[in-house]
């Protein structure tokens, strides 16, 4: 069983409270009408299947019912980090030990949230 840290509940919970929801950070093409069939097909159907570090979306289904991102190693099952929607990962395939501090500041811009939602 995995012990997963929910970034909204701010504590570790049992795996059975969560569902995996596939690859994270997929952005919908801004103008679907301008897409080629190949681009649209890639967006809809094609997913990465890396060996090693992978960014996934999970939902805390029995809990706060929020979606969040998980950086997971597909070889060792190790969960390197969990972070809320809208944020960027610290661990990537390029930086398996975590991004250096100067890179981090550029990448981690505060996402705009609805007023007062996040305390």
């Amino acid at each position: 069983m995995l012990h997963i840290y929910c970034p909204y509940c701010e504590e570790l919970r049992e795996e059975e409270e969560f569902h995996p929801k596939g690859q994270a950070h997929i952005t919908r093409p801004a103008d679907p009408d301008a897409c080629s069939d190949e681009e649209w097909g890639d967006y809809l159907f094609f997913r990465d299947n890396p060996r090693g570090i992978h960014h996934e979306m999970w939902v805390h289904a029995i809990g706060c019912r929020k979606f969040f991102n998980v950086t997971r190693n597909t070889v060792t099952y190790e969960i390197l980090e969990t972070y809320p929607m809208g944020e960027q990962p610290r661990f990537t395939a390029e930086y398996p030990e975590g991004k250096p501090a100067d890179q981090l500041n550029d990448a981690q811009q505060e996402p705009s949230r609805q007023e007062g939602v996040h305390v």
Binding site: Y8, C9, E10, E11, R13, E14, E16, E17, I62, G63, C64, R65, K66, Q114, E115, G116, V117, H118, V119
Partner: protein, 220 residues
């Protein structure tokens, strides 16, 4: 519909009292279970006691924490819990507000108060962006008391209910007996389970079965 059962707020939202005072009898989701499964009495040997607090007013609030907190403070006299998995209560313990998710709270008040609470909250919130849903008919609340209550919970949920990890004033939504519910601890020796009505019979029978070794009793 009579005058006191529906109201239109300043913002033009129609509200209906889902349980107006009429001659129609209302029953808790567990009424059939008491009849069908029975309810073992409380005896000297009972180390756990279940008590249902039926027909309370359950209201779910969604929206921005700051505006909702102000409105709840104004109407109920205490604020929403700001930290995840926590519970706020008034001094009598009859009214409570619990964190469910970053933009969602469960407010429980004595039965019959939920309609006026909703009206007052809508008035206080004005045209803020929010949602209030009266879910009183959808769930019920069970109290668990006694020295073996923690042991019974340990058999039922993977969540850590040891007093060190689950202090008074904490409340979580978690897995319970292959189902799910809201588990909370409003007082040192008392636990509360907020059940969905569709799971109520199953969970009631689970609790009786799990509590058999502690001579569980149902207080009514």
């Amino acid at each position: 519909m009579s005058e006191h059962t529906s109201a239109t707020t300043a913002t033009g939202i129609n509200m209906y009292d889902v349980r107006p005072t009429t001659e129609v009898p209302a029953e808790s989701p567990l009424a059939w279970s008491y009849h069908h499964t029975g309810h073992p009495g409380v005896s000297q040997r009972s180390r756990v006691v279940i008590r249902e607090r039926a027909m309370l007013g359950h209201v779910v609030l969604r929206g921005g924490a700051i505006v909702l907190d102000e409105a709840v403070r104004q109407v109920l006299g205490f604020g929403l819990p700001a930290r995840p998995n926590t519970l706020n209560q008034d001094p009598s313990g009859e009214r409570s507000a619990q964190w469910l998710s970053p933009d969602e709270w469960l407010v429980i008040v004595p039965g019959g108060e939920e309609f006026s609470l909703e009206a007052k909250l809508r008035e206080a919130l004005g045209d803020a962006h929010y949602a209030i849903v009266n879910v009183s008919g959808g769930q019920t609340l069970l109290e668990l008391e006694g020295e073996a209550a923690t042991e019974l919970l340990m058999k039922s949920t993977p969540y850590d209910v040891h007093p060190a990890g689950f202090p008074v004033g904490k409340g979580v939504t978690t897995v319970f007996a292959k189902s799910n519910l809201i588990l909370r601890r409003p007082a040192e020796d008392r636990w509360e389970l907020v059940l969905r009505r569709s799971f109520a019979d199953y969970l009631y029978r689970w609790l009786l079965d799990a509590g058999q070794e502690y001579a569980i009793g149902v207080d009514d």
